[in-house]
Each structure stands twice: as C-alpha cells, then as structure tokens.
C-alpha cells in the first residue's frame, strides 16, 4: 500500500491528539489528588523579634568622643560577626570604623568648624539608606532592602561583581579578596564567616534583632548610640531627632541615609 499525503496527515493528527489528551489526563489526575504532599512545614517570625517599620541609628558624637567607646563598638561588632583582620590595608574588611569629620562629611568641611570636630572620631557604618544605590546596582538581588528598612546581604547569592561597592557613596562595603578564615582571630560559632569573593557590610545586627536584642554596638556604647524605629513617633530616636539637630552623610545624593549624627 502506498501512503498518500492525506492518510499520513490523518494518522499524525490523530496520534498528536491522543498523546496530548494523555498528558492532560495525567495533569488532571495529579491535581485531582488534592492534598499537598510536601512535608515541609510553615515558617514564621519569632514572637521575641524586635519589629519596626524603619530602623535608624542616632550617633551622639560628643558623648561617644567623651566615653571613648567607639573602639569597643568596632571590636564587638567585628568579633561577633567574624570580620577578618586583614594585614594589608588594601584588603581591609570592615563593618564599623572611625574617621575624621572632613572624610565623613565631605563637602561640609570648612576652615572655621569648631576645633573639637576636627579631632574627634566619627563612627561610620552602613547607612541603611531609604533609597539604597547598592540594591539597585546588585545584579543578583544579593543585596536587598527589608520591609523594616535594613539593607541586608544574602551572601549565598553574592557573585562578587562589586557593583554595590562602586555604587555605595559611603564606602560601607568590603570585598573578600582572600579566604577570610585564617584572618579571624577567634571564630564566633554563632555567626557564619564569609568566603573568598563575596562583599560584606554591616547588617544592623539583624540576627540579634531577631532574638529581641539591640545591635551589639549600641549595647556597648553606653548610651552614645541610640537605635530605634523612626516610624514610631514615641520611640527614643524620633524623640531625640525632634529635639536635637542632626546631620547625615551626603544627604544631597538622595539615598536617604538612616544614620543620624547629633552635633
């Protein structure tokens, strides 16, 4: 028998129909089963976690200069977060550090500022911006802004492209040029380290907030650092900012930094 084009088309049409009805039947049968069989449970926020809509920090510059707790703040932060102490300054990794007025408040420096401001150290850290340029720059969404205002890093997703470092106007981000583990004096097993090739920065102690604790630097600052919710008008930070004049770093850039310096 010789196949005509007509009979060939008939047969192929029929077989396509029967195959597709078979797969549709399968889908219907499985969805008809109804129950979700994945034995993965539910996740929720812990009741003891501190909650806010807009976390912010107020730095009482004079108080911090007087009680000299800035070194303690830096030390505790770097210790609990396993921040390596790199011997070469070019490979430095830092979450919180100190700097002079002219570097911290670039463009607001002039020769007539009070002598004391020229000398005292300013504590600087990630500003957890309202409109973070690092988040926009990140191609993998490894850096993201949480609904409580914290700009956080998901180290699992960081590919080490360093766009965020170029985008951040405050130099708050550090890159791990080497495996940081050998440069951590005493590893804190309660917090992971990082690996070579990822960027890191201050996380406003997200892991401590989740346990209902204040950030570590705030705890050791003896009142020179105040942390709270700016969305809540009754909070300590809101009250202080209402009463005392505070400046922010490079506010003209529009990033909306959430670290306020009382002067």
């Amino acid at each position: 028998m010789k196949n005509s084009r007509r009979s060939f088309l008939k047969i192929s049409g029929l077989s396509a129909l029967s195959l597709s009805s078979l797969s549709i039947g399968n889908v219907l049968a499985s969805s008809g089963g109804g129950t979700n069989t994945t034995p993965i449970g539910d996740t929720s926020v812990k009741p003891e976690a501190l909650k806010a809509k807009k976390w912010a920090m107020v730095v009482d510059v004079k108080k911090l200069a007087e009680n000299k707790r800035y070194e303690a703040c830096i030390e505790i932060c770097h210790k609990i977060h396993n921040v390596p102490n790199m011997p070469n300054k070019r490979h430095e990794v830092k979450w919180v550090w100190e700097d002079e007025f002219k570097h911290v408040f670039t463009g607001q420096d002039h020769e007539h500022i009070p002598e004391e401001f020229k000398e005292i150290p300013f504590l600087v850290l990630c500003n957890h911006c309202e409109n973070p340029s690092c988040v926009q720059a990140c191609p993998t969404k490894a850096t993201f802004k949480r609904d409580d205002g914290i700009v956080l890093m998901d180290f699992h997703r960081c590919i080490g492209c360093r766009f965020c470092m170029a985008a951040c106007p405050y130099g708050s981000r550090s890159f791990n040029f080497f495996d940081p583990r050998p440069f951590i004096e005493e590893v804190n097993s309660e917090f992971p380290t990082r690996m070579k090739g990822v960027v890191e920065k201050c996380n406003f102690c997200a892991e401590r907030l989740a346990k209902g604790q204040q950030p570590a630097c705030v705890e050791v600052s003896e009142g020179a650092l105040i942390f709270g919710d700016l969305d809540d008008h009754e909070s300590e930070v809101s009250q202080i900012l209402k009463k005392r004049f505070a400046i922010r770093r490079k506010p003209h850039l529009g990033s909306g930094p959430q670290v306020y310096y009382l002067v």
């Binding site: 993965i40 996740t43 812990k46 180290f155 992971p192």
Partner: protein, 136 residues
C-alpha cells in the same frame, strides 16, 4: 546485483573490537566492586529526639530542598521559626550552636560527609557556615 565487499576487513574489525573494549572498560573493570551504600551514624542526641524537622525519608532525599526554603525564609523574609507538619517548633538554622541542625547532628564526618563523599557531591555550606566541633 552488485557483490558487496568489505575493504580492510581485518583492520576494521580489530579497530572495532578495541573501541568496544575501551568504551566498556569502566563497566567490566568495576564489576562486582560496587561500594556499599553509606550508612550514616546518628548522634545520641538525634537518636533520642527520634523525629527530625520532616519525615526521615524526605530528609534523606530532599534535605537540600528544606535547607533552601529555610535559607530564603531566614535571610530574606526574617522568618526564623519553623513549625513542622507534626506541629513542633524549631529554630531555623544550619550551624549556629545548640538550636540548629548541627546541635543535633553533632558530627559532620559521621553525618553529612558519609553520603556526600559516597555520592561525590561537594556542597559549599561549610565554606561560610562553621562546622560542628567534632566530639572526638
């Protein structure tokens, strides 16, 4: 009809034989030498707890799924409390002390590595997460 002939018959057949031997080499060389399936050693604490965060069969085959869910939940959604299907609450953490996976599965060598080495998978969890201090 034209008579079909095979040119260089000996050479072609010899070549084919060598080819087949080389291709099948891994199969007959390793025949009967299959490594026994690994058996993980549960710590006393894990044995005492009896249940994990999901049924054992699921955890054996799909623990990476649950770790992915946990990771996104904790890091990206602030949710750190896990309620298993049988209604128990757990702290979602791989490696932060007592209240985490390694709080129960205290030995990486006896637990994680046994299967991972056998299956030749090298997860990079421990590049950042701090492995349990071995209790030996």
């Amino acid at each position: 009809m034209q008579k079909k002939t095979m040119y260089d018959k000996e050479k072609v057949l010899a070549g084919l034989t060598i080819f087949v031997i080389i291709v099948t080499f891994p199969f007959w060389y390793n025949m009967g030498k299959a490594a026994p399936a690994p058996e993980i050693k549960l710590s006393d604490k894990a044995k005492a707890a009896k249940v994990c965060v999901a049924p054992k069969s699921f955890m054996t085959a799909e623990h990476m799924q649950i770790l992915n869910v946990w990771r996104d939940s904790v890091v990206r959604n602030k949710k750190r409390l896990y309620s298993s299907v049988d209604g128990k609450n757990y702290n979602m953490s791989l490696s932060t002390g007592e209240d985490s996976c390694i709080g129960c599965h205290v030995s990486k060598a006896d637990f994680c590595d046994r299967c991972h080495t056998y299956a030749s998978v090298r997860p990079y969890c421990w590049d950042c997460h701090i492995e349990p201090k071995e209790n030996k």
